[in-house]
Symmetry: C2
Subunit: 343 residues, 2 copies
DNA sequence: CTGTTAGCGCTTTCAC
DNA sequence: GTGAAAGCGCTAACAG
C-alpha cells in the first residue's frame, strides 16, 4: 500500500503559485507578501501538509536519525538508557533507529554496518560482552561519523565515553559489606574485556586492600547471569570455600546466588550478605530485598545523546570526552546485618 | 560534522562513464557489457559504495522504516516484543523507529504524528493505559497507512490486532488456583478501557462460574503496579476481607502483593496463593517463585511485523486480521500448595 | 515580491 | 552498449 502525502507542489498548483514561493511562504521568508503567506499557510494547514523529511535529508545531507546499538533491549538498564536518549533526541528533532547486537560480535558488526548505510547522523553504542576487536567502530571514527559509547565502552578507542563510576560503585559496595562485618567477600564478575567489569573488579580489590583484608583469587569467579550466579554459588558451597558476602556485577547474578544460598540453607544476610549492581526493579521485590549499586540509565542516555549532538553540530572532529556519572549504593536487607534499622 | 559518502557519481567520474551506466552496471542490468560491469562493481567495492537509502526512498516513495510505539520500553514484555519485531524487520530490509508514549495519551498522539511525518511505511502500536480516544490512529487508517496493534490493542478500530489469548490465560490461572483449594480468589486488574485487561477479568470470572464459586465484587480491585499491588493487599487485609488467592494482571503487581502478604505474616501459597501474568524473569527469583501466565513477546513481535509487511506489500487495503497467540500457565511455588512436588 | 533553474543521489524511460 | 534527461520533494542562488 502506498500513501499519498501532500506536497508543496500540490499547494502551489492549488494556489497558482510556484513551488519556491510556497516554500518560502511556509517558512516565513521576509520577501513574501503577507497575503501570499497567509493563503499558503492556511491551505497547508488545511491539507495537513508536513514537509517530506526524506527530501529534506537528501537536500541537507542530514537524516536527523541516530543509530542506537545495545546488546539487548530486554535489560532493564539498557531500556532506561534508551528512554534518556529518546528524551533529548525528541527535544532536538532527532529520531532513533534501534538495533540489538544480541551480545554477539558478528551481529554487532552487521547491524552497525546497517545503520551506517542508512546514513544516520551519528551512532550511540554499548558494546557486546563478546566484542574484542574494534575495527567496525574505528571505521566510523575514520569516516568522521559521530560516535559515542555508553556503559559498555570501547576502551581502546579514542572516542567519547559515558559511564558510571564503576570503580567507586564497586568500592563502596565492598566497603559496605566489610563494614557489616564480612571478612571474606566474594566477587562475581563479567567478561574482563569490558572495562566496566574490570573497574568493578578493581574497586572491589581496592576496598579489600584499604580494609587490610587479603585478596583471595578463589573468591573471584566469573558469573554474570542468573544461571551462572546460581551455579557458581553452588560450587563455592560444595567446595567448602568459605565466604560471608557476595558482590555481584548485576542484580540477576545476585538473585541467582541468593537462590542457591537459600537451597543451601544459608541465610542472607547473616551467613552471606549480598550486594548487586544496577538497582533494577527486581532488587526491591526479592526476599530479602537486594542491596544494589544504583546507576541512572536515564541520565546516562541523556548525557550520551547530548555529547553526540555536540559532535554532530561541530564543524570539526571534537576531542574525545570521558563523562563519568556517580554511582550510588542503595542498602537494603540483603546486606544489612543490623536488622533493627529496617523499617 | 558532515560525512562524505561515496556516490554513484564519484564512480562514474572515476571510470569515465555516465551515472546511468554505473547504476545499471551495479544492478547487473543485461544491457551492460561484462567488462563495464566488472570494472564498475570492482571500483564500487573498493570504495565501499552503498546506495544512499534516502535517495532511494525519495525515488521509490518507500522509506523502509517502520514506526514502533510502545507505552514503555523498560517493561520486560515490550522489550521482548521489540526483539521479535526487529528479527523479521531486519530479515526484510526494514529498520525500526522506536518511540514511547510513557502511558500518556497526549504523548502518544504526539509521537504518532511524529513518526507519520517521518514517512514510515507502517506503524506497529501498543496503546497506552490512558488512551480512550482513537482519532490519532483512525487517521492512519483513513490515510491508508499500514497499522498493526499488538497486546494493548485499540478494540474499537477496524485494524489488525495481535494478542495473546488473555481470556484463556486468566481462565487457566484462576482454575488452577481453585484446583489448589482456593475458594476466595481475588483479582487485581488493570484499566478497564484496555481490552486485554477486560479479557483477563472475564476469564477470571468465567472460571469462578464454571467452578460454581460466587463472584464477589469486593475481591476485584484495581491494581496494576508494584505499589498498587502492595497497597491494595494491605487494604484487603486491614478491612478483613477474606481471600485465599490473588490472580494479578502482571508480575510486578503480584510481587507487590507478596511483599504486603509477608509483612502481614501471611504465608504464600498456604494462606494466600498467588499467580501473576507475563512470566518476566523476575518471577523465577521471587520467594516463593511466582506462578505466572507466560506470553511469548518475541513471537508476538514477529507476527505483528509479518502482518504489517503483508499490508505494506498489498495493493489495496487488506481486511483486518485478529491474530491470537496461546497463553501458557507456568506453575511455580507461589500457587502450589502441594509442596512435596517442588524440587 | 515572485518565478526559473539547478541540484541533493538515484532510477528509468527514451534516444542514439 | 551507453548516454541524456526527467523526476522523486524540497531549497536556494539567481533573475526579473
Amino acid at each position: 500500500m502506498k500513501t499519498q502525502h501532500v506536497t508543496i507542489k500540490n499547494i502551489a498548483a492549488e494556489l497558482g503559485l510556484s513551488v519556491s514561493t510556497v516554500s518560502r511562504a511556509l517558512k516565513d521568508h521576509p520577501d513574501i507578501s503577507q497575503t501570499t503567506k497567509q493563503r499558503t499557510q492556511a491551505l497547508a494547514k488545511q491539507l495537513c501538509y508536513t514537509p517530506n523529511p526524506i527530501a529534506l535529508s537528501l537536500k541537507s545531507q542530514r537524516s536527523y536519525l541516530v543509530g542506537v546499538i545495545v546488546p539487548e533491549i530486554a535489560h532493564y538498564f539498557f531500556s532506561t538508557v534508551i528512554g534518556g536518549i529518546e528524551s533529548v533526541a525528541d527535544a532536538c528533532g532527532y529520531s532513533l533507529i534501534l538495533v540489538q547486537s544480541g551480545e554477539q560480535l558478528s551481529r554487532e558488526e552487521k547491524v552497525l554496518g546497517h545503520i551506517v548505510n542508512l546514513r544516520v547522523d551519528g551512532v550511540l553504542a554499548s558494546v557486546s560482552k563478546e566484542t574484542n576487536s574494534y575495527g567496525h567502530f574505528q571505521r566510523l571514527l575514520d569516516e568522521r561519523i559521530p560516535l559515542v559509547f555508553f556503559d559498555r565502552v570501547a576502551d581502546s578507542l579514542d572516542a567519547t565515553h559515558v559511564t558510571v563510576d564503576d570503580f567507586r560503585g564497586a568500592y563502596d559496595a565492598t566497603k559496605h559489606l566489610i563494614a557489616q562485618g564480612c571478612r571474606s567477600v566474594a566477587h562475581f564478575y563479567g567478561p574482563r574485556n569490558r572495562s566496566i567489569f574490570r573497574s568493578r573488579h578493581d574497586g572491589y580489590r581496592q576496598a579489600l586492600e584499604d580494609a587490610g583484608l587479603p585478596f583471595r583469587p578463589q573468591l573471584v569467579v566469573e558469573a554474570d547471569t542468573l544461571e551462572k550466579g546460581t551455579a557458581q554459588t553452588e560450587r563455592l558451597v560444595q567446595q567448602r570455600i568459605a565466604f560471608d558476602a557476595i558482590f555481584a556485577v548485576n542484580d540477576f547474578t545476585a538473585a541467582g546466588a541468593m537462590l542457591a544460598l537459600r537451597k543451601a540453607k544459608l541465610s542472607v544476610p547473616h551467613d552471606v550478605a549480598v550486594v548487586g549492581y544496577t538497582d533494577a526493579p527486581t532488587a526491591k521485590v526479592l526476599t530479602p530485598s537486594l542491596s544494589s549499586v544504583h546507576q541512572s540509565g536515564f541520565e546516562m542516555g541523556q548525557q550520551a545523546m547530548k555529547a553526540l549532538l555536540r559532535q554532530i553540530g561541530a564543524e570539526d572532529r571534537l576531542p574525545a570526552e570521558r563523562i563519568v556519572l556517580p554511582a550510588q549504593l542503595v542498602v537494603r536487607e540483603s546486606s544489612l546485618r543490623d536488622l533493627v534499622t529496617i523499617k
